[in-house]
Symmetry: C2
């Protein structure tokens, strides 16, 4: 396999509801219909197996770094980040790497 992968995890602020998290998941997944550079997109909520984990994760694959940057900077993506993620965000951890 080749490509470029973006992984980001979030911890939500105290008081964040399941409904707010579900809204983030739905809004992010909806980007696959708007940003053609997304080759593969997976989101998930922590399964609760281990203590200290982050709450939510996105694993998104792209053909190359340029395709990832197009996603990162796409107005539809920025709108989800600004309107749905940032208001409930406590911590963020991210990485991008060559597959």
């Amino acid at each position: 396999m080749s490509g470029f992968r973006h992984v980001v995890m979030f911890k939500w602020a105290a008081g964040t509801t399941t409904g707010q998290q579900d809204e983030v998941a739905a809004r992010l997944t909806g980007l696959t219909g708007v940003i053609p550079e997304i080759a593969s997109f997976s989101v998930g909520a922590d399964a609760g197996v281990n203590q200290g984990n982050h709450d939510f994760v996105v694993v998104a694959d792209f053909a190359d770094q340029d395709a990832y940057v197009a996603y990162r900077d796409h107005p539809a993506h920025r709108a989800v980040v600004d309107e749905y993620i940032k208001p409930i965000l406590a911590e963020r951890a991210a990485i991008q790497y060559e597959l």
Copy 2:
């Protein structure tokens, strides 16, 4: 797709060398020959596109949660964590989720 995914990111301590990181990558990847519960295993170093990122990531897929726990607790995995990861670890972020 169905299954159970484990994602973990590390930030290395100041002074960690590329050689040490390469050793972690090699030792972790070597687990695929030792722990049959690993269905898919991907490791990578940060591509340097964004500031503030973590340094290294593991994305590992399993058939189910029990298979992940078998990996998590396997002595060969614990040995890599104790001998190669913990000595250079500064920060860790992890999540597991249903695919």
